[in-house]
């Protein structure tokens, strides 16, 4: 049994498989992971996923192949009851394992943080006052969730409220996400945006769409019975098309404006007002 140098043999098998698999993961699997890349954030998320998959591959292969290798070569001969070597420890192996995993983890965390900061939160909801915000915000839109629909208000266009959304391409857009009742989450897969809509919280996400397309927005935080039906479709259009659309909307929804509260970053939630105590003072 001791003639075979299992260590070397397994290392070779693992190295060969890794060398084959990593490029496959990067160039074949990566682009097919089904990510929306229609914005700076989405693009970065897709790259990150590919990078993570590529880093994970050697580890997955190491353990996975080892399981197969052990199952094949470290067997008890049939009908016998032999004992293995009574080895309990190997400081060298342990230390190198700790070092390698620690370095990998550090690389991952630093990589993720840099990506997060460079892309202004990478399309995620970053709270009411994100520390790093882009200097070139071209448009603000407020996304309002309520059971079970989304509406949009446009502070730069008189605070008009529209049931649908169109946004201009190649513009850094600031999404102010809030809710009128329970927690929702505004998600646009194609643009890589996801931000929770909390009552009386303004949750800001940034994204810059980079191509014309129609996208689906959907609620991804459980908000009650029709949570699953809380989706709709919007479009990324050119700037002139957008201006035209928003003007149409302003005219169309002007009559409704007097029923609306004035534009604000957050609104009084509808839910909870059945409680007597809450209405009394303030």
């Amino acid at each position: 049994m001791d003639e075979i140098n299992h260590g070397r043999r397994f290392t070779i098998i693992w190295a060969v498989c890794t060398i084959i698999a990593v490029p496959l993961v990067i160039w074949v699997l990566g682009p097919n992971l089904g990510y929306g890349e229609a914005s700076n954030a989405g693009e970065d998320q897709a790259t990150t996923l590919t990078v993570l998959a590529a880093i994970a591959t050697p580890f997955l292969l190491l353990v996975g192949l080892y399981l197969v290798y052990a199952a094949m070569f470290f067997r008890q001969p049939r009908g016998q009851m032999l004992e293995g070597p009574a080895v309990r420890d190997d400081a060298k192996v342990q230390i190198s394992w700790i070092v390698v995993t620690s370095i990998t983890v550090l690389i991952l965390a630093v990589y993720g943080s840099v990506a997060l900061i460079q892309n202004y939160g990478d399309g995620t909801g970053s709270g009411a006052s994100p520390l790093n915000r882009p200097s070139h915000v071209g448009l603000r839109v407020q996304v309002i969730g309520q059971q079970w629909t989304w509406t949009y208000r446009w502070p730069e266009y008189g605070g008009v409220e529209t049931p649908g959304i169109e946004i201009p391409v190649n513009t850094m857009i600031e999404f102010n996400v809030t809710s009128l009742d329970v927690i929702h989450s505004w998600t646009v897969k194609e643009l890589g945006i996801k931000a929770d809509a909390n009552p009386q919280v303004n949750n800001i996400a940034f994204a810059e769409p980079n191509r014309l397309l129609s996208f689906e927005y959907r609620c991804t935080e459980l908000c009650g019975i029709w949570h699953g039906a809380m989706y709709g479709f919007g479009r990324v259009v050119t700037r002139p098309q957008f201006e035209e659309w928003i003007h149409k909307m302003q005219i169309k929804y002007r009559p409704a404006e007097k029923y609306l509260p004035p534009f604000a970053l957050t609104y009084q939630p509808k839910f909870g007002s059945h409680r007597a105590g809450f209405e009394e003072e303030s």
Partner: protein, 638 residues
């Protein structure tokens, strides 16, 4: 002292059979539960009609207060009926502290308060198995609904209740899936003790869990609950009375967890036989210990949070309602501060079982004992510092995300230690692929995938797309069902010979393993793909192009369920048709639990507490020169 002991003498007299029905047992327990429920309900109702209550809450259409009190009193009534109050009341009157009278034999003790840790272990195995089955049935309903991309089977409202029941039943009862049956049964034997430190509390944890389970299932009579297992506010507050079942269930499970964990820790700390030093504690006891610490510290947070939610619902406070100055973020923070340690409560016992079984079938001592223990401790410690990775897109403390990203990824390092111990133990070993060993290998494979996907989720840029999608579902089913679930079933095969005295059929077992392993992967690998393609969680509407993939998943899930039924069949078959009496040590293990006779005597070690100073539970293998320490009896590794 030559005095009479009235208590003792009365118990030794054989009672007539009918007396068993009116003593303290499960029947009186149920009667007590009903009485308590009714009392609680009327107290609640009476309180609700006071002018004060009218003042605090206009909308009194829902009797949340009455229901919550009814459940609480019902549980108390149940416990009193079971006989849990006898000893405490006796002590209130000044009776001295004492052990319970010696346990008697017979099947009846499985249906009542028993302070024999082996009886409680078996009660737990059956009880948890039942709820595992209920959760599995709910999973099948989920998969049936998802056969279509529009709600056609149960509809969106019931769907949410089913998802909630599935997840809450699973998470609530499977937290005790290992500590309940296996740790209760084997930890005392492994450390050379005759019982747990607090036998009555041990029994209490089990019956509390069962009472909680009944409360949870009763939610269907009150309209179900729409929040999933996370119970986020303010949806929680808005929900119908069925929500109260969820709150009470989880709070009771929390209490049961605290007590179970406390009992385990105290037992391990104080009851070890001579020679069982910390450095030689079997690895399963270490895993139990760390899990118990997490339970004792994290579960109270859950109890507190849910009590706040209950107050919000019942007496109109506003912890979580923004309109009254509360905050939904507060709930999310508090919940996940418990929630993340909770998921390691579901993982660590699995680690322990696997590393305990591995040396037996590898015929090698456990490799890297100390690093594995360090791994447990590291995971346990770190798990308190990562909770906001569930809240990356919520807007909470967004600027701290790099920290939580780092801490989450750091958890991979101690988890990796466990893998290293696994790898080291089977290196150049002599593996026999018995059924438990197959499950060990499957655990490694599944948990690897689950863990790697966890790392993907912990990176904020990728989390942005994957949060709230089926990718998360796949991640945690790989870690829970693929990790804990496989370790649990493997441990059933491993330990049933000791617990019940018969061996499970090996052939059916192998078939069951392969069926379970393949169908499990066929179920949850496609779910990763679904998640990447944008399938959202907890929805009954999904894009039409995902129908095919979902049907594949559903069919695989049915087969997975069938493979689990095969396990039940195997138990029945091996018990009824082909009863092969197990020897004392069928696996030739060196662990203490296999050195005691089967069936284990009532006091485990009736004559003497074993002297374990020369005892090494991992004393396998032939000594080698160089390349590691000699197999000295000090099992600490060198």
């Amino acid at each position: 002292m030559s005095l009479a002991y009235p208590h003792q003498s009365s118990s030794s007299v054989e009672r007539p059979g009918w007396r068993k029905l009116v003593g303290f047992n499960i029947f009186t327990g149920i009667i007590g539960a009903v009485i308590g429920y009714i009392i609680g309900w009327y107290i609640g109702k009476a309180l609700t009609t006071t002018p004060y209550y009218e003042y605090i809450r206009v909308n009194t259409l829902e009797d949340d207060l009455a229901l919550i009190l009814a459940y609480s009193f019902g549980v108390i009534g149940f416990l009193v009926g079971m006989g849990f109050a006898n000893y405490p009341v006796g002590r209130m009157l000044g009776r001295p502290a004492s052990l319970r009278e010696k346990e008697t034999g017979g099947a009846w003790r499985y249906f009542g308060l028993s302070t024999d840790h082996k009886v409680v272990g078996i009660q737990y195995l059956v009880g948890v198995g039942f709820f595992f089955f209920v959760g599995g049935l709910n999973a099948m309903l989920i998969r049936t609904e998802l056969l279509h991309n529009t709600p056609e089977f149960v509809g969106p409202e019931k769907y949410l209740t089913i998802v909630g029941l599935h997840s809450v039943v699973m998470l609530g009862t499977l937290t005790s899936a290992v500590l309940g049956p296996f740790a209760n049964y084997f930890v005392p034997i492994m450390i050379g003790a005759r019982r747990m430190a607090f036998p009555r509390i041990e029994a209490l944890t089990f019956w509390l869990l069962m009472a909680a389970g009944v409360i949870l299932l009763s939610t269907i009579f009150f309209g179900g609950f729409p929040t999933g297992w996370t119970g986020y506010e303010p949806l929680n507050d808005q929900a119908l009375m069925g929500m109260d079942s969820y709150i009470l269930f989880f709070a009771l499970v929390g209490i049961s967890m605290v007590l179970l964990g406390m009992n385990m820790i105290v037992t391990i700390v104080t009851m070890r036989a001579p020679g069982v030093t910390w450095g030689r504690l079997p690895i399963f006891c270490w895993a139990t210990f760390v899990t118990a610490v997490l339970m004792v510290l994290a579960a109270p947070m859950l109890i507190g949070t849910l009590l706040m939610a209950a107050l919000d619902r019942a007496i109109g406070t506003s912890f979580f309602l923004t309109l009254g100055g509360g905050s939904a973020y507060l709930f999310e923070n508090l919940f996940w501060f418990f929630g993340h340690p909770e998921v390691y409560v579901l993982a660590l016992p699995g680690f322990g079982l696997i590393l305990e079984m591995l040396p037996v079938f590898a015929r090698k001592p456990l490799w890297g004992y100390r690093i594995a223990v360090a791994g447990f401790l590291g995971v346990g410690l770190m798990s308190f510092f990562v909770w906001q990775h569930h809240l990356f897109v919520s807007g909470i403390n967004a600027d701290l995300r790099p920290f939580y990203m780092l801490s989450t990824e750091i958890i991979s390092i101690p988890t990796g230690f466990v893998f290293l111990a696994f790898i080291g133990t089977i290196w150049r070993s002599r593996i026999t692929f018995t059924v438990p060993m197959l499950f060990c290998f499957a655990w490694a494979f599944n948990f690897l995938i689950g863990g790697a996907s966890g790392v993907v989720l912990s990176d904020v840029p990728t989390n942005a797309q994957l949060h709230g999608s089926f990718f998360v579902i796949a991640h945690f089913h790989y870690t829970i069902m693929g990790g804990l679930g496989f370790a649990f079933v493997g441990a059933i095969y491993y330990y049933v010979p000791k617990m019940f005295g018969f061996k499970l059929n090996e052939r059916i077992g192998k078939f069951q393993f392969w069926a379970m392993f393949l169908t499990f992967n066929a179920t949850f690998l496609p779910i990763f793909a679904l998640g990447l393609k944008g399938m959202a969680r907890r929805v009954t509407f999904y894009p039409a192009d995902l129908i095919t993939l979902n049907r594949v998943v559903s069919i695989a899930a049915y087969l997975l369920f069938a493979s689990m039924l095969l396990l039940v069949y195997n138990v029945v078959y091996s018990l009824v048709f082909e009863r092969e009496r197990a020897t004392d040590n069928p696996w030739h293990s060196k662990g203490m639990e296999w050195q005691v006779p089967t069936p284990v005597p009532v006091d485990n070690f009736p004559d003497k507490i074993p002297d374990m100073r020369d005892f090494d539970p991992y004393d396998y293998g032939v000594p080698v020169s160089g390349g590691g320490a000699a197999p000295a009896p000090a099992g600490a590794g060198a």
